[in-house]
Protein backbone atom coordinates (compact mmCIF):
# COMPACT_ATOMS: atom_id res chain seq x y z
CA UNK A 1 0.00 0.00 0.00
CA UNK A 2 2.71 2.41 1.04
CA UNK A 3 4.69 1.78 -2.11
CA UNK A 4 1.65 2.54 -4.22
CA UNK A 5 1.09 5.75 -2.29
CA UNK A 6 4.70 6.82 -2.78
CA UNK A 7 4.59 5.94 -6.43
CA UNK A 8 1.37 7.83 -6.87
CA UNK A 9 2.67 10.98 -5.22
CA UNK A 10 5.92 10.72 -7.16
CA UNK A 11 3.89 10.43 -10.33
CA UNK A 12 1.89 13.50 -9.36
CA UNK A 13 5.05 15.47 -8.67
CA UNK A 14 6.48 14.50 -12.05
CA UNK A 15 3.21 15.38 -13.73
CA UNK A 16 3.08 18.76 -11.98
CA UNK A 17 6.65 19.49 -13.05
CA UNK A 18 5.81 18.64 -16.62
CA UNK A 19 2.73 20.84 -16.62
CA UNK A 20 4.55 23.74 -14.99
CA UNK A 21 7.54 23.56 -17.31
CA UNK A 22 5.21 23.34 -20.30
CA UNK A 23 3.48 26.48 -19.08
CA UNK A 24 6.77 28.19 -18.52
CA UNK A 25 8.10 27.47 -21.99
CA UNK A 26 4.86 28.59 -23.57
CA UNK A 27 4.90 31.79 -21.59
CA UNK A 28 8.49 32.53 -22.57
CA UNK A 29 7.63 32.01 -26.22
CA UNK A 30 4.74 34.46 -25.95
CA UNK A 31 6.76 36.90 -23.85
CA UNK A 32 9.47 37.03 -26.48
CA UNK A 33 6.95 38.20 -29.03
CA UNK A 34 5.10 40.67 -26.84
CA UNK A 35 6.07 43.55 -24.62
CA UNK A 36 3.14 44.43 -22.41
CA UNK A 37 0.50 43.56 -24.95
CA UNK A 38 2.30 45.09 -27.92
CA UNK A 39 3.54 42.63 -30.52
CA UNK A 40 7.32 42.67 -30.91
CA UNK A 41 7.80 39.55 -33.03
CA UNK A 42 8.38 39.38 -36.76
CA UNK A 43 6.01 36.56 -37.86
CA UNK A 44 3.64 38.70 -39.85
CA UNK A 45 6.04 41.51 -40.75
CA UNK A 46 6.92 42.14 -44.39
CA UNK A 47 9.59 44.50 -45.65
CA UNK A 48 9.32 47.54 -47.90
CA UNK A 49 13.07 47.23 -48.51
CA UNK A 50 15.96 45.55 -46.80
CA UNK A 51 15.73 46.44 -43.10
CA UNK A 52 12.53 48.50 -43.52
CA UNK A 53 9.63 46.71 -41.78
CA UNK A 54 6.20 47.54 -43.20
CA UNK A 55 4.18 47.67 -39.98
CA UNK A 56 3.95 48.94 -36.42
CA UNK A 57 1.96 47.48 -33.54
CA UNK A 58 -0.23 48.92 -30.80
CA UNK A 59 -1.42 48.14 -27.31
CA UNK A 60 -5.11 47.32 -26.75
CA UNK A 61 -7.34 50.34 -27.35
CA UNK A 62 -4.25 52.52 -27.90
CA UNK A 63 -2.86 54.49 -30.80
CA UNK A 64 0.37 55.59 -29.08
CA UNK A 65 3.56 54.72 -30.96
CA UNK A 66 6.08 52.68 -28.98
CA UNK A 67 9.83 53.35 -29.13
CA UNK A 68 10.14 50.39 -31.43
CA UNK A 69 7.30 51.68 -33.68
CA UNK A 70 8.96 55.09 -33.95
CA UNK A 71 12.18 53.37 -34.93
CA UNK A 72 10.36 51.43 -37.68
CA UNK A 73 8.66 54.59 -38.92
CA UNK A 74 11.97 56.50 -39.06
CA UNK A 75 13.29 53.70 -41.28
CA UNK A 76 10.18 54.01 -43.45
CA UNK A 77 10.63 57.78 -43.66
CA UNK A 78 14.23 57.31 -44.74
CA UNK A 79 13.16 54.85 -47.40
CA UNK A 80 10.38 57.18 -48.58
CA UNK A 81 12.86 60.05 -48.88
CA UNK A 82 15.10 57.87 -51.03
CA UNK A 83 12.17 56.77 -53.16
CA UNK A 84 10.42 60.06 -53.69
CA UNK A 85 8.18 58.69 -56.46
CA UNK A 86 6.53 56.19 -54.10
CA UNK A 87 3.21 57.00 -52.44
CA UNK A 88 1.87 54.91 -49.60
CA UNK A 89 -1.41 53.90 -47.98
CA UNK A 90 -1.33 53.45 -44.23
CA UNK A 91 -3.79 50.71 -43.37
CA UNK A 92 -4.98 50.87 -39.78
CA UNK A 93 -6.34 47.79 -38.05
CA UNK A 94 -7.86 46.73 -34.75
CA UNK A 95 -8.24 43.34 -33.11
CA UNK A 96 -11.53 41.44 -32.97
CA UNK A 97 -12.19 42.31 -29.32
CA UNK A 98 -14.09 45.53 -29.90
CA UNK A 99 -17.30 46.75 -31.47
CA UNK A 100 -17.11 47.10 -35.24
CA UNK A 101 -17.84 50.81 -35.51
CA UNK A 102 -15.48 51.88 -32.74
CA UNK A 103 -12.77 49.71 -34.29
CA UNK A 104 -13.15 51.50 -37.62
CA UNK A 105 -12.44 54.78 -35.83
CA UNK A 106 -9.59 53.22 -33.86
CA UNK A 107 -7.95 51.87 -37.03
CA UNK A 108 -8.16 55.32 -38.54
CA UNK A 109 -6.62 56.84 -35.44
CA UNK A 110 -3.74 54.34 -35.47
CA UNK A 111 -2.93 54.88 -39.14
CA UNK A 112 -2.98 58.63 -38.53
CA UNK A 113 -0.56 58.29 -35.62
CA UNK A 114 1.84 56.62 -38.05
CA UNK A 115 1.12 59.24 -40.72
CA UNK A 116 1.83 62.11 -38.33
CA UNK A 117 5.15 60.57 -37.39
CA UNK A 118 6.18 60.09 -41.02
CA UNK A 119 5.25 63.72 -41.65
CA UNK A 120 7.46 64.96 -38.82
CA UNK A 121 10.29 63.16 -40.63
CA UNK A 122 9.68 65.16 -43.74
CA UNK A 123 7.26 63.03 -45.75
CA UNK A 124 4.63 65.17 -47.45
CA UNK A 125 1.06 64.44 -46.44
CA UNK A 126 -0.02 64.19 -50.07
CA UNK A 127 2.15 61.11 -50.50
CA UNK A 128 0.33 59.37 -47.67
CA UNK A 129 -3.28 58.26 -47.61
CA UNK A 130 -4.98 56.52 -44.74
CA UNK A 131 -7.38 53.58 -44.84
CA UNK A 132 -8.97 51.99 -41.81
CA UNK A 133 -10.11 48.39 -41.94
CA UNK A 134 -11.22 48.24 -38.33
CA UNK A 135 -11.31 44.55 -37.38
CA UNK A 136 -12.19 43.38 -40.89
CA UNK A 137 -8.80 42.14 -42.07
CA UNK A 138 -6.89 40.32 -39.32
CA UNK A 139 -3.55 38.71 -40.26
CA UNK A 140 -3.85 36.08 -37.57
CA UNK A 141 -7.23 34.37 -37.23
CA UNK A 142 -6.54 33.05 -33.74
CA UNK A 143 -8.56 34.08 -30.71
CA UNK A 144 -5.70 34.60 -28.25
CA UNK A 145 -3.69 37.56 -26.95
CA UNK A 146 -0.74 36.91 -29.28
CA UNK A 147 -2.96 36.78 -32.38
CA UNK A 148 -4.78 39.92 -31.28
CA UNK A 149 -1.48 41.74 -30.75
CA UNK A 150 -0.43 40.95 -34.34
CA UNK A 151 -3.72 42.35 -35.59
CA UNK A 152 -3.48 45.73 -33.80
CA UNK A 153 -1.34 47.35 -36.44
CA UNK A 154 -0.74 50.01 -39.03
CA UNK A 155 0.71 48.67 -42.26
CA UNK A 156 2.48 50.87 -44.80
CA UNK A 157 1.55 49.68 -48.28
CA UNK A 158 2.95 50.96 -51.57
CA UNK A 159 0.18 52.70 -53.49
CA UNK A 160 1.91 52.85 -56.86
Amino acid sequence: MNLIKILRSAFLVVLACLVLSACATKKVATMKQMQGDVYTGTDSVEYLADGVPDRVFFATNESILTTRSRDTLRKQAGWLRENSDVNVVLEGHADERGTREYNLALGERRANAAKDYLMTYGISSNRISVLSYGKERPVDSGSNPLAWSKNRRSVTVKAN
Partner: protein, 446 residues
Protein backbone atom coordinates in the same frame (compact mmCIF):
# COMPACT_ATOMS: atom_id res chain seq x y z
CA UNK B 1 -43.11 46.41 -54.18
CA UNK B 2 -45.09 43.29 -53.48
CA UNK B 3 -46.66 44.56 -50.34
CA UNK B 4 -48.32 47.41 -52.16
CA UNK B 5 -50.63 44.77 -53.58
CA UNK B 6 -51.55 43.73 -50.15
CA UNK B 7 -55.07 44.74 -49.38
CA UNK B 8 -56.24 44.36 -45.89
CA UNK B 9 -59.98 44.27 -45.83
CA UNK B 10 -61.52 43.95 -42.49
CA UNK B 11 -64.83 42.25 -43.05
CA UNK B 12 -65.66 41.41 -39.52
CA UNK B 13 -64.83 43.63 -36.65
CA UNK B 14 -63.38 42.28 -33.46
CA UNK B 15 -66.16 41.37 -31.17
CA UNK B 16 -65.85 42.85 -27.73
CA UNK B 17 -65.76 40.06 -25.26
CA UNK B 18 -64.30 39.78 -21.83
CA UNK B 19 -61.60 37.30 -22.27
CA UNK B 20 -60.11 34.97 -19.73
CA UNK B 21 -56.87 34.72 -21.66
CA UNK B 22 -54.03 36.85 -20.53
CA UNK B 23 -50.43 36.55 -21.60
CA UNK B 24 -47.92 37.83 -19.12
CA UNK B 25 -45.15 39.53 -21.07
CA UNK B 26 -43.43 41.30 -18.22
CA UNK B 27 -41.14 38.52 -17.18
CA UNK B 28 -39.66 35.31 -18.47
CA UNK B 29 -42.57 33.19 -19.48
CA UNK B 30 -42.00 29.75 -18.11
CA UNK B 31 -45.45 28.50 -18.96
CA UNK B 32 -46.23 29.71 -22.48
CA UNK B 33 -49.91 29.85 -23.38
CA UNK B 34 -51.16 26.61 -24.96
CA UNK B 35 -52.72 27.49 -28.29
CA UNK B 36 -54.16 25.30 -31.04
CA UNK B 37 -53.41 26.43 -34.58
CA UNK B 38 -55.89 24.51 -36.69
CA UNK B 39 -54.65 24.15 -40.30
CA UNK B 40 -56.43 26.71 -42.47
CA UNK B 41 -59.01 24.91 -44.56
CA UNK B 42 -58.85 25.11 -48.34
CA UNK B 43 -61.63 23.96 -50.70
CA UNK B 44 -60.49 21.35 -53.18
CA UNK B 45 -60.66 23.61 -56.22
CA UNK B 46 -58.58 26.37 -54.63
CA UNK B 47 -56.21 23.71 -53.38
CA UNK B 48 -55.53 22.53 -56.93
CA UNK B 49 -54.95 26.06 -58.22
CA UNK B 50 -52.60 26.92 -55.35
CA UNK B 51 -50.68 23.73 -55.90
CA UNK B 52 -50.15 24.73 -59.52
CA UNK B 53 -49.26 28.32 -58.63
CA UNK B 54 -47.07 27.84 -55.58
CA UNK B 55 -45.98 24.19 -55.75
CA UNK B 56 -47.37 23.70 -52.27
CA UNK B 57 -49.66 20.73 -51.68
CA UNK B 58 -51.70 22.23 -48.88
CA UNK B 59 -51.29 25.98 -48.66
CA UNK B 60 -53.60 26.15 -45.63
CA UNK B 61 -51.35 23.85 -43.62
CA UNK B 62 -48.26 25.74 -44.83
CA UNK B 63 -49.61 29.09 -43.67
CA UNK B 64 -50.61 27.71 -40.29
CA UNK B 65 -47.09 26.32 -39.95
CA UNK B 66 -45.69 29.85 -40.43
CA UNK B 67 -48.00 31.03 -37.65
CA UNK B 68 -47.02 28.16 -35.40
CA UNK B 69 -43.28 28.75 -35.82
CA UNK B 70 -43.69 32.44 -35.09
CA UNK B 71 -45.66 31.69 -31.94
CA UNK B 72 -43.05 29.21 -30.69
CA UNK B 73 -40.20 31.65 -31.29
CA UNK B 74 -41.95 34.42 -29.38
CA UNK B 75 -41.53 32.29 -26.27
CA UNK B 76 -45.00 33.32 -25.11
CA UNK B 77 -47.04 30.61 -26.79
CA UNK B 78 -47.01 26.86 -26.94
CA UNK B 79 -48.69 25.62 -30.14
CA UNK B 80 -50.17 22.18 -29.50
CA UNK B 81 -49.53 19.01 -31.48
CA UNK B 82 -51.88 18.84 -34.46
CA UNK B 83 -52.27 15.06 -34.14
CA UNK B 84 -54.33 15.64 -31.04
CA UNK B 85 -56.86 17.86 -32.85
CA UNK B 86 -60.29 16.27 -33.00
CA UNK B 87 -62.23 18.69 -35.15
CA UNK B 88 -62.00 19.14 -38.90
CA UNK B 89 -60.41 22.47 -39.85
CA UNK B 90 -63.34 23.63 -41.98
CA UNK B 91 -65.92 22.86 -39.30
CA UNK B 92 -63.77 24.29 -36.51
CA UNK B 93 -63.57 27.54 -38.41
CA UNK B 94 -67.37 27.87 -38.49
CA UNK B 95 -68.20 26.63 -35.02
CA UNK B 96 -65.54 25.13 -32.82
CA UNK B 97 -66.56 22.41 -30.41
CA UNK B 98 -64.94 24.10 -27.45
CA UNK B 99 -65.09 20.99 -25.24
CA UNK B 100 -62.83 19.17 -27.70
CA UNK B 101 -60.27 21.94 -27.68
CA UNK B 102 -60.44 22.34 -23.92
CA UNK B 103 -59.81 18.63 -23.62
CA UNK B 104 -56.37 18.97 -25.22
CA UNK B 105 -55.71 21.93 -22.89
CA UNK B 106 -55.85 24.60 -25.60
CA UNK B 107 -56.68 28.02 -24.19
CA UNK B 108 -56.78 29.79 -27.52
CA UNK B 109 -57.70 28.46 -30.93
CA UNK B 110 -56.83 29.87 -34.34
CA UNK B 111 -58.92 28.74 -37.31
CA UNK B 112 -59.14 29.93 -40.87
CA UNK B 113 -59.95 29.45 -44.49
CA UNK B 114 -58.01 30.14 -47.69
CA UNK B 115 -59.58 30.57 -51.11
CA UNK B 116 -58.45 31.68 -54.53
CA UNK B 117 -60.57 34.63 -55.69
CA UNK B 118 -59.75 36.32 -59.01
CA UNK B 119 -56.17 35.07 -58.96
CA UNK B 120 -55.77 36.46 -55.46
CA UNK B 121 -55.29 34.65 -52.23
CA UNK B 122 -58.09 35.42 -49.80
CA UNK B 123 -57.71 34.40 -46.20
CA UNK B 124 -60.02 34.72 -43.27
CA UNK B 125 -59.17 33.68 -39.79
CA UNK B 126 -60.63 33.69 -36.31
CA UNK B 127 -59.17 33.66 -32.85
CA UNK B 128 -61.23 31.89 -30.21
CA UNK B 129 -61.15 31.93 -26.44
CA UNK B 130 -61.63 28.25 -25.70
CA UNK B 131 -62.48 28.50 -22.01
CA UNK B 132 -64.94 31.36 -22.44
CA UNK B 133 -66.29 29.72 -25.58
CA UNK B 134 -66.16 32.98 -27.51
CA UNK B 135 -64.76 34.47 -30.66
CA UNK B 136 -62.10 37.09 -29.85
CA UNK B 137 -61.24 38.31 -33.30
CA UNK B 138 -62.10 37.73 -36.94
CA UNK B 139 -60.26 39.19 -39.91
CA UNK B 140 -59.99 38.67 -43.63
CA UNK B 141 -57.65 40.00 -46.26
CA UNK B 142 -56.57 39.46 -49.83
CA UNK B 143 -53.11 39.44 -51.38
CA UNK B 144 -51.12 38.00 -54.27
CA UNK B 145 -50.60 34.24 -53.78
CA UNK B 146 -46.78 34.51 -53.71
CA UNK B 147 -47.21 36.54 -50.54
CA UNK B 148 -48.49 33.51 -48.66
CA UNK B 149 -45.75 33.53 -46.01
CA UNK B 150 -46.56 37.13 -45.22
CA UNK B 151 -50.16 36.07 -44.68
CA UNK B 152 -48.89 33.80 -41.91
CA UNK B 153 -46.87 36.64 -40.41
CA UNK B 154 -49.80 39.05 -40.47
CA UNK B 155 -52.07 36.49 -38.80
CA UNK B 156 -49.42 36.01 -36.10
CA UNK B 157 -49.17 39.78 -35.59
CA UNK B 158 -52.94 40.12 -35.17
CA UNK B 159 -53.13 37.19 -32.74
CA UNK B 160 -50.11 38.48 -30.81
CA UNK B 161 -51.62 41.95 -30.57
CA UNK B 162 -54.98 40.65 -29.41
CA UNK B 163 -53.49 38.38 -26.76
CA UNK B 164 -50.63 40.50 -25.42
CA UNK B 165 -51.92 44.03 -25.98
CA UNK B 166 -48.70 44.96 -27.76
CA UNK B 167 -48.04 45.39 -31.45
CA UNK B 168 -46.46 42.42 -33.17
CA UNK B 169 -43.15 42.11 -34.99
CA UNK B 170 -43.63 39.15 -37.31
CA UNK B 171 -44.45 40.81 -40.61
CA UNK B 172 -40.96 42.30 -40.73
CA UNK B 173 -37.65 41.74 -42.42
CA UNK B 174 -34.03 41.68 -41.37
CA UNK B 175 -31.22 43.21 -43.36
CA UNK B 176 -27.80 41.85 -42.48
CA UNK B 177 -24.31 41.11 -43.76
CA UNK B 178 -23.86 37.59 -45.14
CA UNK B 179 -20.30 36.36 -44.56
CA UNK B 180 -18.22 33.69 -46.23
CA UNK B 181 -14.58 32.71 -46.57
CA UNK B 182 -11.58 32.70 -44.23
CA UNK B 183 -11.53 35.01 -41.24
CA UNK B 184 -8.54 36.91 -42.61
CA UNK B 185 -10.34 37.73 -45.86
CA UNK B 186 -14.10 37.55 -45.37
CA UNK B 187 -16.39 38.09 -48.32
CA UNK B 188 -19.35 40.17 -47.19
CA UNK B 189 -22.64 40.84 -48.95
CA UNK B 190 -25.74 42.73 -47.98
CA UNK B 191 -28.65 40.34 -47.59
CA UNK B 192 -32.30 40.71 -46.72
CA UNK B 193 -34.71 38.09 -45.42
CA UNK B 194 -38.02 37.70 -43.67
CA UNK B 195 -37.83 37.86 -39.90
CA UNK B 196 -38.06 34.03 -39.79
CA UNK B 197 -35.15 33.56 -42.21
CA UNK B 198 -37.19 32.80 -45.35
CA UNK B 199 -37.09 34.62 -48.70
CA UNK B 200 -33.39 35.37 -48.37
CA UNK B 201 -32.01 37.65 -51.08
CA UNK B 202 -28.56 39.15 -51.65
CA UNK B 203 -28.40 42.84 -52.45
CA UNK B 204 -24.70 43.12 -53.30
CA UNK B 205 -22.34 40.70 -55.02
CA UNK B 206 -19.50 40.62 -52.53
CA UNK B 207 -16.97 42.45 -54.72
CA UNK B 208 -16.38 45.00 -52.01
CA UNK B 209 -16.54 44.89 -48.26
CA UNK B 210 -19.89 46.08 -46.87
CA UNK B 211 -20.81 46.66 -43.24
CA UNK B 212 -23.56 47.87 -40.89
CA UNK B 213 -26.70 48.12 -43.07
CA UNK B 214 -29.70 49.92 -41.51
CA UNK B 215 -33.26 50.32 -42.76
CA UNK B 216 -34.99 53.60 -43.38
CA UNK B 217 -38.20 54.00 -41.35
CA UNK B 218 -40.28 53.04 -44.41
CA UNK B 219 -37.98 50.09 -45.18
CA UNK B 220 -37.50 51.19 -48.80
CA UNK B 221 -33.94 52.37 -48.35
CA UNK B 222 -30.86 51.01 -46.64
CA UNK B 223 -27.86 52.98 -45.48
CA UNK B 224 -24.58 51.11 -45.02
CA UNK B 225 -20.81 51.31 -45.25
CA UNK B 226 -19.14 50.16 -48.46
CA UNK B 227 -15.44 49.89 -49.32
CA UNK B 228 -16.18 50.51 -53.01
CA UNK B 229 -12.86 51.43 -54.71
CA UNK B 230 -11.21 51.10 -51.29
CA UNK B 231 -12.87 54.31 -50.13
CA UNK B 232 -14.96 53.47 -47.07
CA UNK B 233 -18.04 55.68 -47.34
CA UNK B 234 -21.64 55.67 -46.25
CA UNK B 235 -23.97 54.65 -49.07
CA UNK B 236 -27.67 54.67 -49.70
CA UNK B 237 -29.38 51.78 -51.48
CA UNK B 238 -32.90 51.78 -52.84
CA UNK B 239 -34.02 48.18 -52.30
CA UNK B 240 -36.65 48.37 -55.03
CA UNK B 241 -34.52 49.83 -57.82
CA UNK B 242 -31.10 48.63 -56.66
CA UNK B 243 -29.68 52.13 -57.20
CA UNK B 244 -26.78 52.99 -54.87
CA UNK B 245 -25.28 56.38 -54.15
CA UNK B 246 -22.65 57.83 -51.85
CA UNK B 247 -23.99 59.94 -49.00
CA UNK B 248 -22.30 63.33 -49.08
CA UNK B 249 -18.88 64.30 -50.33
CA UNK B 250 -16.51 63.75 -47.44
CA UNK B 251 -12.72 63.82 -47.81
CA UNK B 252 -12.33 60.76 -45.59
CA UNK B 253 -14.05 57.70 -44.14
CA UNK B 254 -17.71 58.01 -43.20
CA UNK B 255 -19.23 55.14 -41.19
CA UNK B 256 -21.77 54.05 -38.56
CA UNK B 257 -24.80 55.42 -40.48
CA UNK B 258 -28.43 55.44 -39.35
CA UNK B 259 -31.58 57.17 -40.49
CA UNK B 260 -33.30 59.83 -38.46
CA UNK B 261 -36.78 58.69 -37.32
CA UNK B 262 -38.47 60.84 -40.00
CA UNK B 263 -36.21 59.31 -42.64
CA UNK B 264 -35.03 62.71 -43.85
CA UNK B 265 -31.49 62.65 -42.55
CA UNK B 266 -28.61 60.25 -42.20
CA UNK B 267 -26.54 60.48 -39.07
CA UNK B 268 -23.03 59.03 -39.19
CA UNK B 269 -19.39 59.38 -38.17
CA UNK B 270 -16.79 61.11 -40.29
CA UNK B 271 -13.13 60.35 -39.56
CA UNK B 272 -10.44 62.87 -40.40
CA UNK B 273 -6.84 63.06 -39.20
CA UNK B 274 -7.39 60.47 -36.52
CA UNK B 275 -10.52 62.02 -35.11
CA UNK B 276 -14.09 60.78 -35.59
CA UNK B 277 -17.03 63.11 -35.06
CA UNK B 278 -20.77 62.84 -35.67
CA UNK B 279 -22.41 64.53 -38.66
CA UNK B 280 -25.83 64.55 -40.26
CA UNK B 281 -26.72 64.97 -43.89
CA UNK B 282 -30.16 66.08 -45.03
CA UNK B 283 -31.18 63.81 -47.90
CA UNK B 284 -33.34 66.45 -49.60
CA UNK B 285 -31.10 69.52 -49.63
CA UNK B 286 -27.76 67.71 -49.04
CA UNK B 287 -26.88 70.06 -46.19
CA UNK B 288 -24.23 68.59 -43.93
CA UNK B 289 -24.24 69.51 -40.26
CA UNK B 290 -21.55 68.80 -37.71
CA UNK B 291 -23.09 67.54 -34.45
CA UNK B 292 -20.06 66.77 -32.23
CA UNK B 293 -16.68 68.46 -32.16
CA UNK B 294 -14.35 66.70 -29.79
CA UNK B 295 -10.80 65.29 -30.20
CA UNK B 296 -12.02 61.84 -29.14
CA UNK B 297 -13.75 59.11 -31.11
CA UNK B 298 -17.49 59.83 -31.38
CA UNK B 299 -19.43 57.13 -33.19
CA UNK B 300 -22.44 54.77 -33.28
CA UNK B 301 -25.08 57.54 -33.13
CA UNK B 302 -28.76 56.61 -32.78
CA UNK B 303 -31.75 58.96 -32.54
CA UNK B 304 -34.53 58.77 -29.97
CA UNK B 305 -37.84 57.93 -31.71
CA UNK B 306 -39.07 61.53 -31.36
CA UNK B 307 -35.86 62.77 -33.01
CA UNK B 308 -35.06 65.12 -30.13
CA UNK B 309 -32.07 63.27 -28.71
CA UNK B 310 -29.12 61.25 -29.92
CA UNK B 311 -27.29 58.55 -28.00
CA UNK B 312 -23.75 57.78 -29.14
CA UNK B 313 -20.47 56.12 -28.26
CA UNK B 314 -17.44 58.18 -27.27
CA UNK B 315 -14.07 57.55 -25.63
CA UNK B 316 -13.73 61.14 -24.38
CA UNK B 317 -13.45 59.82 -20.82
CA UNK B 318 -10.53 57.61 -21.90
CA UNK B 319 -12.65 54.57 -22.69
CA UNK B 320 -15.74 53.78 -24.74
CA UNK B 321 -18.84 54.98 -22.91
CA UNK B 322 -22.41 55.87 -23.84
CA UNK B 323 -23.52 59.50 -24.05
CA UNK B 324 -26.81 61.24 -24.74
CA UNK B 325 -27.15 64.73 -26.22
CA UNK B 326 -29.81 66.91 -27.78
CA UNK B 327 -30.08 66.41 -31.53
CA UNK B 328 -28.28 69.72 -32.15
CA UNK B 329 -25.26 68.40 -30.23
CA UNK B 330 -25.82 70.38 -27.06
CA UNK B 331 -26.16 69.05 -23.50
CA UNK B 332 -23.82 66.07 -23.83
CA UNK B 333 -24.20 63.74 -20.85
CA UNK B 334 -22.49 60.48 -20.10
CA UNK B 335 -25.01 57.82 -19.05
CA UNK B 336 -22.98 54.60 -18.70
CA UNK B 337 -21.22 54.25 -15.37
CA UNK B 338 -21.13 50.53 -14.70
CA UNK B 339 -18.03 48.36 -14.67
CA UNK B 340 -16.38 47.77 -18.03
CA UNK B 341 -16.72 49.68 -21.28
CA UNK B 342 -19.78 50.24 -23.45
CA UNK B 343 -20.51 50.48 -27.17
CA UNK B 344 -23.24 50.44 -29.86
CA UNK B 345 -26.05 52.27 -28.06
CA UNK B 346 -29.41 51.94 -29.85
CA UNK B 347 -32.52 53.79 -28.76
CA UNK B 348 -35.61 51.60 -28.35
CA UNK B 349 -38.56 52.33 -30.68
CA UNK B 350 -40.66 52.77 -27.53
CA UNK B 351 -38.25 55.46 -26.40
CA UNK B 352 -37.75 54.20 -22.87
CA UNK B 353 -34.58 52.12 -23.15
CA UNK B 354 -31.17 52.11 -24.78
CA UNK B 355 -29.69 48.76 -25.81
CA UNK B 356 -25.91 48.41 -25.83
CA UNK B 357 -22.89 46.14 -25.98
CA UNK B 358 -20.81 45.95 -22.84
CA UNK B 359 -17.28 44.59 -22.56
CA UNK B 360 -16.03 43.54 -19.17
CA UNK B 361 -13.16 41.24 -18.16
CA UNK B 362 -12.92 39.74 -21.63
CA UNK B 363 -16.63 38.94 -21.92
CA UNK B 364 -19.25 40.61 -24.10
CA UNK B 365 -22.77 41.41 -22.96
CA UNK B 366 -25.92 42.69 -24.62
CA UNK B 367 -27.93 44.80 -22.22
CA UNK B 368 -30.42 47.60 -21.79
CA UNK B 369 -30.54 50.69 -19.60
CA UNK B 370 -32.99 53.52 -19.20
CA UNK B 371 -32.20 56.65 -21.19
CA UNK B 372 -30.76 58.33 -18.08
CA UNK B 373 -28.39 55.38 -17.60
CA UNK B 374 -30.26 53.94 -14.62
CA UNK B 375 -31.59 50.41 -14.36
CA UNK B 376 -28.88 48.63 -16.33
CA UNK B 377 -29.83 45.04 -17.12
CA UNK B 378 -27.57 42.56 -18.89
CA UNK B 379 -29.52 40.10 -21.00
CA UNK B 380 -26.85 37.78 -22.38
CA UNK B 381 -23.14 37.08 -21.97
CA UNK B 382 -20.72 35.47 -24.42
CA UNK B 383 -17.21 35.34 -25.85
CA UNK B 384 -18.05 37.94 -28.47
CA UNK B 385 -21.36 39.54 -29.40
CA UNK B 386 -22.45 43.04 -30.33
CA UNK B 387 -24.66 45.33 -32.40
CA UNK B 388 -28.19 44.88 -31.00
CA UNK B 389 -31.11 46.01 -33.17
CA UNK B 390 -34.66 46.38 -31.82
CA UNK B 391 -37.78 44.64 -33.04
CA UNK B 392 -40.33 47.32 -34.01
CA UNK B 393 -42.34 46.76 -30.83
CA UNK B 394 -39.25 47.18 -28.63
CA UNK B 395 -39.55 43.74 -27.08
CA UNK B 396 -36.88 41.68 -28.82
CA UNK B 397 -33.25 42.39 -29.75
CA UNK B 398 -31.39 40.80 -32.63
CA UNK B 399 -27.57 40.86 -32.57
CA UNK B 400 -24.62 38.85 -33.85
CA UNK B 401 -22.27 36.54 -32.02
CA UNK B 402 -18.84 35.26 -33.04
CA UNK B 403 -17.18 32.11 -31.76
CA UNK B 404 -13.66 31.74 -30.45
CA UNK B 405 -11.14 30.12 -32.77
CA UNK B 406 -8.51 27.62 -31.71
CA UNK B 407 -4.75 28.28 -32.00
CA UNK B 408 -4.90 27.32 -35.69
CA UNK B 409 -7.66 29.85 -36.24
CA UNK B 410 -10.25 27.12 -36.86
CA UNK B 411 -13.81 27.10 -35.55
CA UNK B 412 -14.81 30.65 -36.37
CA UNK B 413 -18.45 31.43 -37.00
CA UNK B 414 -20.66 34.49 -36.94
CA UNK B 415 -24.39 34.02 -36.38
CA UNK B 416 -27.49 36.07 -35.68
CA UNK B 417 -29.24 35.59 -32.35
CA UNK B 418 -32.31 37.10 -30.77
CA UNK B 419 -33.25 37.59 -27.16
CA UNK B 420 -36.23 39.25 -25.58
CA UNK B 421 -36.19 41.92 -22.92
CA UNK B 422 -36.77 39.43 -20.14
CA UNK B 423 -33.37 37.90 -20.88
CA UNK B 424 -35.02 34.55 -21.51
CA UNK B 425 -35.88 33.10 -24.87
CA UNK B 426 -32.50 33.40 -26.56
CA UNK B 427 -32.67 31.96 -30.07
CA UNK B 428 -30.44 31.37 -33.06
CA UNK B 429 -31.79 33.11 -36.15
CA UNK B 430 -30.91 30.71 -38.91
CA UNK B 431 -29.16 31.99 -42.01
CA UNK B 432 -27.70 30.12 -44.98
CA UNK B 433 -24.24 31.59 -44.49
CA UNK B 434 -22.52 33.19 -41.54
CA UNK B 435 -24.13 36.51 -40.68
CA UNK B 436 -23.53 39.75 -38.78
CA UNK B 437 -24.74 43.34 -38.38
CA UNK B 438 -28.50 42.67 -38.35
CA UNK B 439 -31.01 45.49 -38.62
CA UNK B 440 -34.71 44.94 -38.00
CA UNK B 441 -37.31 46.63 -40.23
CA UNK B 442 -40.47 48.28 -39.00
CA UNK B 443 -43.80 46.47 -39.54
CA UNK B 444 -44.30 46.12 -43.28
CA UNK B 445 -48.09 46.12 -43.30
CA UNK B 446 -48.64 49.20 -41.17
Amino acid sequence: MIFRYLLILIILFPIKAFSLIEVDITRGNLSPLPVAVSPLSVDSESKKSFEKLLKKKDIGAEISLVVENNLVKSGLFNPLDKDAFLQNPNIAHLKPRFEDWALIKAQALITGKVTLVDEKLRVEFRLWDVLAGKEMMALAFTTVPTNWRRVGHIITDKVYERLTGETGYFDTRIIYVAEEGPKTNRIKKLAIMDQDGFNNKYLTLGNELVLTPRFSPTNQMVTYLSYFKNLPRVYLLDIETGIQEVVGDFPGMTFAPRFSPDGKKIIMSFAMDGNSDIYTMDLENRVVERITNHPSIDTSPSYSPDGKYICFNSDRSGYQQIYVMKSDGSNVKRISFGKGIYGTPVWSPRGDLIAFTKMHKGRFYIGVMRTNGKGERLLTENFYQEAPSWSPNGRVLIFYRETKTDSQGKGFSAKLWSIDLTGYNERLVETKTDASDPSWSTLLSN
